[in-house]
């Protein structure tokens, strides 16, 4: 015996006049949609082609599309409640594709999902479940936007969002209501028309609002650059980065129009969180406004009216924005692109920046110290010179070779090497990898440094590099690819985690909070290796912002060299968070983070926690001198 269930009411027998009116309205709605959407599409397609874009690997794209778009994983993961509400709306839209098609077909008398057929009845109930979820979801999002009002959505209330929410609610409500009326009832016809009108009003509004992301963002996620924070190579003799509209590529334009203005990027941005001008969301919207007003053929500079140069140079390139973006916007290449435009053409004037560039045009390291100091350090520590016979080339980097604290980290790592009898050597001469100039947009100096270093490594027949600096690791492995084939490289956390079982255990109760460096975590996806090292020497404590949500120390993107910040210092913000965990030790895995926290902790009045790199933690349990073999002997 079948239970009585209400069925979806579908009015029959529309008059010819109604059919013509409906068809006319559909045409008007579709035309209004296209009038705006066509313009947007035209601006995207008329932008410059992305010369370095490669479609492969397709598998990765398909997976990201499935995971981030279809499963809404990123949307939910970062903000579970609103994320789930959004997912409900999104999934309902997918389920409603067939319903809407049928709804329109009914208006022309050619409906195909008959409530009388089993399939039709099943699908209408199936969609009803989503409609219910969507109704709850959209109400929740409405309450959030208009009553809770999180600051990330912007100070100004978006009435268009309210209207869109109202339309979505109307669509769902009319769909659900039609289960409770009869086909023949005149109210069925009213519901059908209200549903239709909501739909036909919704469509042309989309391309005028941030709801354009409905149409664009699936494509944006699918057509990403391929890897995180990837800086594209310049193409040809007239490409200096993002200088004017003519430099905007299709990917940049597509991303600018895809922004849904959710503010996740801003919520995680170290600059935006410490009172600086930079707001990554506004940067993307600035590019969009430029495209709207001037278009991709304009020679007007991108920096000026639409985006402030000062803001662009406050970015630490920590990548938190790009990592969080649910619609596939790649903020780092855009920000670095704008910097390239300013630096490669000489329009950026900054005393500290010029000093850094001049130091690296002539000298070998970003600190501007004589290389003789590095030689002295090598002699004092009796570091073997790499001659092609050793397994590892230990890359010192500017911090490891010249900074006192960085040298301590190198010395500890060397202690571990000696204990493990690892064969290693350091290069007689090393130049800065070019990380700070790369991120600041100086392609000339970066190329000189990358080429000189690649040549030195090839001459010395280096096969494997290990480095204490995640910035060196990233730059050597990824950024140098533009100029040659860099040797294999790993960060010392990876090396240490692999050899942990061979090191003496020194378990104790010491609470150690680990700070994820941006260039190790988000850039390299290495989160657990340094934690294993920490766990082997104490009790691991997590800061509120950890793993991929880690908060920058403020040094990245060349900012370590740019002098005083405006607003609160990023390093002080993060250091306070680490201190508040109550840990007695702060564990770091990057000499730049270490340097920033060293200064930040020095300003706190009471006894701050001690600050140690994971190499120093690992070396603590080792005997003072000699190798394992010596001990055995």
């Amino acid at each position: 015996m079948l239970l009585f269930l209400p069925t979806l009411a579908e009015p029959e027998n529309f008059s010819v006049a109604e059919k013509i009116a409906f068809a006319g309205l559909v045409l008007v709605s579709a035309y209004s949609f296209w009038r705006r959407f066509g313009v947007v599409l035209d601006k995207i397609l008329k932008s410059r082609k992305d010369a370095s874009f490669r479609f492969s690997p397709v598998g990765k794209r398909v997976w990201e599309f499935f995971w981030e778009v279809l499963c809404q994983a990123k949307v939910i993961r970062e903000r579970p409640l609103p994320g789930l509400a959004h997912a409900c709306v999104f999934w309902a839209f997918l389920a409603f594709a067939l319903v809407t098609l049928n709804h329109c077909a009914v208006g022309l008398g050619i409906g195909f999902l008959s409530p009388k057929s089993v399939a039709g009845r099943f699908y209408s109930y199936f969609a009803a479940v989503f409609a219910l979820a969507c109704t709850v979801g959209i109400l929740g999002l409405f309450v959030r936007r208009f009553l809770v009002r999180p600051k990330w959505l912007g100070a100004k209330l978006s009435w268009e969002s309210g209207f869109i929410a109202f339309l979505i609610f109307t669509l769902m409500a009319t769909y659900l209501a039609s289960f409770f009326v009869a086909d023949t009832d005149s109210s069925a016809r009213v519901l059908w028309w209200v549903h239709t009108l909501a739909l036909l009003i919704f469509l042309p509004i989309l391309p005028h609002t941030k709801h354009l992301h409905l149409v664009l963002s699936p494509a944006t996620v699918f057509l990403s650059r391929g890897s995180f924070a990837q800086i594209p190579p310049l193409s040809g003799d007239e490409d200096f980065g993002l200088v004017a509209g003519t430099d905007l590529t299709r990917l940049v334009s597509l991303q600018a129009y895809s922004c849904v203005e959710c503010g996740r990027c801003t919520e995680h941005c170290p600059a935006a969180n410490t009172g600086k001008l930079l707001n990554p969301k506004e940067i993307v919207l600035g590019v969009r406004a430029y495209l709207n007003d001037l278009g991709p053929a304009s020679g007007e500079p991108l920096l000026g009216k639409y985006n402030a140069q000062d803001a662009v140079f406050q970015c630490t390139t920590c990548g938190a924005c790009e990592f969080q973006c649910p619609v596939g916007i790649e903020h780092v290449p855009i920000l670095v692109g704008l910097r390239r435009g300013a630096v490669n053409t000489g329009t950026w004037e900054d005393n500290y920046g010029s000093k850094l560039f001049l130091a690296l045009e002539r000298g070998s390291n970003a600190l501007g110290i004589s290389p003789a100091e590095r030689d002295k350090f090598i002699q004092k520590q009796e570091l073997p010179i790499f001659d092609g016979t050793q397994e590892y080339c230990l890359w010192l980097g500017c911090m490891g070779g010249y900074d006192p604290k960085g040298r301590e980290i190198v010395s500890s790592l060397v202690q571990v090497f000696r204990y493990l009898n690892v064969s290693y050597g350091v290069l007689r001469k090393e130049k800065c990898t070019g990380d700070p100039v790369r991120r600041l947009g100086n392609d000339l100096v970066f190329q000189q440094l990358a080429e000189a270093n690649l040549e030195a490594l090839a001459q010395n027949k280096v096969k494997k590099i290990v480095s204490i600096c995640p910035h060196c690791v990233r730059t050597i492995q990824e950024d140098w690819k533009e100029y040659g084939t860099p040797p294999e490289i790993e960060h010392h956390s990876e090396f240490l985690a692999r050899h942990l079982s061979q090191l003496p255990s020194v378990q104790n109760e010491e609470k150690i909070v680990f700070h994820d460096p941006c260039y190790l975590g988000r850039y390299r996806d290495v989160y657990e290796e340094p934690r294993e090292v920490v766990k082997a020497t104490g009790q691991l404590v997590e800061a509120p912002r950890n793993h991929e949500r880690s908060f920058c120390c403020g040094a990245g993107g060349g900012l370590a060299f740019l002098g005083e910040e405006t607003g609160e210092r990023v390093s002080h913000n993060r250091a306070a968070e680490l201190v508040a965990t109550g840990a007695s030790t702060i564990g770091t895995a990057c000499p730049f983070c270490n340097s920033m926290f060293r200064d930040a902790l020095a300003t706190t009045g009471d006894a701050p926690p001690q600050l140690l790199d994971i190499a120093q933690l690992a070396a603590r349990g080792l005997p003072e001198t000699g190798s394992a073999k010596d001990q055995e002997g």
Partner: protein, 261 residues
């Protein structure tokens, strides 16, 4: 305003300098070269004058082929064209010999201003600019930090220059043009080289003049006898005893051995 900047390529500050077998010059094979520091400031001053008053900046440099690299850098920073005086014997020429080469290259250009660095980082003679002025028959001033063009920037412009004296004193001089000025480091902030500059530099004119064609006398008046690296010796002494004894011993030494007290 037509400004010529004489620049010199010198061993990089970070280079490990070795003396060659004849002890007359350094081993050039294994070291990097760069633009002489005060010449970089001379170039910067010229570029700023051009930006303010219009005109042309021409760099001139004497030396072997490797000098081309430094010339391109100067063009990349904004110089309009360059003259390369090709000669392989820069090390054995004295300041007069080099100035004669430069004068022969500069004279046909009839510049309004000739700027040189105060002195070179390698030989540090500090004379080339002054001798150049003499050879060109032009007035000169040295140790210049800043140049102001008074009134019209045409061919008969007057300039006001700021000289650096000892102990924080400065001197301002008004002088006519054309003139030769040697520029002190630190008067301006140097600009960095840009990718666009380097690409544009490829299109700029570099005229090469062979030293032999300039008809100048290469025979040096001042002959370099021998080149040697400074002797390093460690003469650190640890004074024993407690603070009082050590202090007494220190005073003793400062008085009678070092004789500074």
């Amino acid at each position: 305003m037509k400004i010529i900047v004489a620049i010199k390529q010198v061993p990089d500050r970070d280079a490990q300098v070795r003396i060659d077998a004849a002890a007359k010059w350094i081993e050039e094979s294994d070291i990097q070269f760069a633009l002489n520091e005060s010449d970089a400031y001379a170039l910067e001053e010229a570029l700023q004058l051009k930006e303010k008053h219009g005109g042309e900046v021409i760099v001139v440099s004497a030396g072997p082929e490797r000098v081309g690299q430094t010339i391109r850098e100067a063009l990349a920073k904004g110089a309009d064209r360059a003259i390369h005086v090709a000669c392989d014997d820069l090390g054995t020429r004295d300041a007069l010999g080099v100035a004669r080469l430069l004068a022969a290259a500069v004279k046909p250009e009839n510049p309004d201003l000739v700027l040189t660095g105060l002195q070179s980082e390698d030989l540090g003679l500090g004379q080339t600019g002054v001798i150049l002025a003499e050879l060109l028959g032009l007035p000169h001033a040295t140790l210049i930090l800043h140049i102001d063009v008074e009134g019209d920037a045409g061919s008969s412009a007057h300039i006001k220059v700021k000289r650096e004296l000892e102990e924080g004193w400065f001197q301002e001089i008004e002088m006519p043009t054309p003139a030769v000025l040697t520029i002190q480091s630190g008067g301006n902030k140097l600009r960095y080289a840009t990718l666009m500059g380097i690409k544009r530099a490829k299109l700029k004119e570099v005229r090469t003049l062979a030293a032999s064609e300039l008809g100048t006398d290469a025979a040096p008046v001042v002959i370099l006898e021998r080149l040697a690296l400074p002797q390093k010796q460690k003469s650190t002494q640890i004074l024993p005893g407690n603070a009082k004894e050590a202090a007494a011993a220190l005073v003793e030494k400062l008085k009678f051995e070092v004789r500074v007290l």
